[in-house]
């Protein structure tokens, strides 16, 4: 249902040429003595995408590929080094604090760790009420109380749980509390940074179901971050694949799994263990992620890519339209990558 609703919507979030560079240089004296230049880490490299109202865009990628960094920039926890983020047509970084408060009411975030995302010294009700109070959504304490109870109910907890402390809950319940907090200022857009990777599968299923229910009920828009392809497939309308800070492929969810274009996407898919026991023999995945401080030249994936050639080593690939979406790959552009349908 949510997937249908997404079709017609206009972009809620537009991200263009977003980059984030961290200065990871040694102190100047060390550089002076060791004659080293400054070192920079491009955690996010020229990323552009948009998210339409009501849809779920997922970002997948291995650890260190820049997923969380993008998430943080989107919600204003981190300033982009380059690029723009437009939220509903408005730039994300405004210096007017009133405008900022207005904006802040409209987006929220759900974090990875259900343990670290709740302040252990705060009662659950206070945790949930904080955004309302700080953002000035609600001032009357009775109304706040009522809203907290309502939210607890919405995430299948009981109002009585409000007076407990986070440590009295299991991981799944805590993640529900975190969701309730995220919802308390009635946002339209929620960034979810690996919201279930710390949970057990049975609980993960509950949370994923809950999130989709809420999306349907409240018309939420999600940016869903995960390294787990099967979870992503379950949640997303569209999927962006990140490698070393750069988007290598964006494509419609089903299409991506049916016909992955970029060799890295293929590699990721290959690495997923086969639960169906179809007897498919996984292809051995080559190598490890390179050091992001000194990324490989050209296409950063070329050292691990079975289809790499001279051009890949030299030249940074540009976006190419594919049958299913877009990809940044010389091979795809030159159509020299065999069209293997996934064996499923």
């Amino acid at each position: 249902m949510s997937k249908v609703a997404a079709k017609a919507a206009t972009p809620l979030l537009q991200v263009s040429d977003l980059s984030c560079v961290f200065d990871v240089s040694k102190p100047w004296l060390n550089r002076l003595i060791e004659r080293e230049p400054k070192q920079f880490l491009r955690a996010v490299d020229n990323v552009s995408f948009e998210i339409r109202k009501g849809e779920t865009l997922a970002l997948v990628g291995e650890s260190g590929s820049g997923k969380s960094t993008i998430a943080k920039m989107l919600v204003g926890l981190l300033d982009p080094s380059e690029g723009t983020i437009l939220f509903d047509g408005e730039p994300m970084i405004t210096h007017s604090s009133d405008r900022m408060t207005e904006l802040r009411k409209r987006f929220q975030m759900i974090f990875q760790s259900p343990y670290a995302s709740l302040n252990p010294r705060w009662k659950v009700a206070d945790v949930i009420a904080e955004p309302m109070i700080v953002l000035g959504v609600e001032k009357d304490s009775a109304k706040i109380q009522a809203r907290v109870d309502e939210l607890l109910d919405l995430v299948s907890l009981s109002a009585a749980d409000g007076s407990k402390f986070p440590h009295e809950f299991s991981g799944g319940q805590r993640q529900r509390i975190a969701i309730a907090r995220a919802l308390s200022s009635s946002p339209e857009f929620i960034v979810c940074d690996e919201p279930t990777s710390a949970l057990d599968v049975s609980v993960q299923a509950q949370i994923l179901n809950l999130m989709r229910d809420l999306q349907d009920q409240l018309g939420l828009t999600y940016l869903f971050i995960s390294h787990d392809l099967s979870v992503v497939r379950h949640m997303a309308n569209r999927i962006g694949v990140l490698y070393l800070g750069a988007l290598v492929e964006i494509s419609d969810s089903k299409e991506l799994f049916r016909a992955p274009q970029h060799p890295y996407t293929r590699m990721l898919l290959d690495a997923v263990p086969d639960l169906e026991m179809t007897g498919r023999k996984r292809k051995e995945v080559e190598g490890e992620i390179p050091n992001p401080i000194n990324p490989p030249s050209g296409c950063t994936f070329h050292p691990r890519c079975p289809f790499a050639n001279e051009r890949c080593r030299r030249e940074v690939p540009r976006w190419t339209r594919t049958k299913t979406g877009v990809a940044a790959c010389h091979g795809v552009e030159e159509s020299r990558i065999p069209e293997t349908e996934m064996a499923r």
């Binding site: 943080k72 919600v75 204003g76 926890l77 604090s97 900022m100 408060t101 802040r104 929220q108 975030m109 974090f111 990875q112 760790s113 670290a116 995302s117 709740l118 302040n119 252990p120 010294r121 945790v127 904080e130 955004p131 700080v134 953002l135 975190a178 907090r181 200022s185």
Partner: protein, 304 residues
């Protein structure tokens, strides 16, 4: 009410009840603190009112009538005719007051600086922690001597008595803030990267609010442990400074001053002037230390 019953049901309290050492230490500490608090009502004499003392009572043996005045003192009297029992109670007051205040001062100063350093990072952090390093480079006792010297120089002599205690607090506190700053900074570095802090930033909470409302409460565990142990240290430091002659004024002796006075009578047979105050100090410092120790273990989740 709820807090109390929660506490009584908590693991901490359970573990406390199960540790005879902790219970004993707590009882001793509580007894000492209470008797210090209620010293004016418990003590038979006000040893800080020199006008009410009778010098001839000096050196009365515990429990025996004085050879000149015939008065009897439970724990004897010192060289000024002060009832040792009363003086211990009043001295305890001073020692505890100095200890508490110094630790409070160090704790507030250290926590605030540690919080700012840890949360802000960057240059502020570097500067604060450098100052802390310098402070550590300079042995506490010298710092205290130094502050004492300076304070003495800038306060007019007639006010020295009144300020002596405060100078003592300042001196001990200033030599002690670093460990609070370090611990709080360390904890802050850990906490500030936790996601609940990000959640608070996300909704536009100001750094001040985040530091005070979110991070600070989560650093209190280790701070409490250090505070307890520092308390014992501060009481001892006060005694040591008194030994070096820069402590509490002799007319209002703290436990340390009493010991300094009493140690002069170690060979002469008036053991009580040294023994009882030293015993009290030992009991106090030991039980506070034991409590701190126990608390450290109890609050350390990894040690269970």
């Amino acid at each position: 009410m709820e807090a109390v019953s929660n506490f009584l049901a908590s693991d901490l309290f359970y573990r406390f009840r199960k540790s005879p050492v902790a219970v004993l230490a707590f009882i001793v500490t509580a007894l000492l603190v209470l008797s210090a608090l209620f010293a004016p009502w418990i003590a038979p004499q006000n040893p800080f009112d020199p006008g009410s003392l009778n010098l001839m009572n000096g050196f009365s043996e515990p429990g025996k009538p004085n050879q000149f005045t015939g008065e009897t003192f439970m724990l004897g009297t010192d060289d000024q005719g002060r009832d040792v029992f009363s003086t211990i109670l009043y001295g305890l007051r001073i020692s505890l007051f100095v200890g508490f205040s110094a630790v409070m001062f160090a704790m507030v100063l250290g926590s605030v600086l540690g919080l700012i350093a840890g949360y802000t990072g960057g240059r502020t952090d570097t500067i604060i922690m450098r100052i802390a390093d310098i402070q550590l480079t300079f042995p506490a006792i010298l710092v205290a001597l130094l502050i004492f010297g300076i304070a003495k120089g800038i306060t007019p002599p007639s006010y020295r008595d009144e300020v002596a205690i405060w100078v003592l607090i300042l001196a001990i506190g200033l030599s002690d803030w670093v460990q609070f700053a370090r611990v709080v900074r360390g904890a802050t570095l850990v906490e500030r990267n936790k996601e609940y802090v990000q959640a608070a930033k996300l909704i536009g909470r100001k750094p001040m609010a985040i530091m005070l409302k979110h991070i600070l409460p989560n650093t209190l565990g280790p701070v409490l442990v250090i505070a307890t142990i520092s308390l014992a240290l501060a009481i001892i430091a006060e005694a040591t400074l008194s030994f070096l002659g820069v402590g509490a004024p002799p007319t209002q002796p703290s436990l340390g001053t009493l010991i300094r006075i009493g140690q002069g009578f170690l060979f002469s047979g008036e053991y009580w002037i040294l023994l009882y105050p030293a015993g009290t100090l030992l009991a106090l410092a030991l039980s506070v230390n034991l409590l701190g120790d126990w608390l450290r273990d109890a609050l350390n989740p990894k040690l269970k």
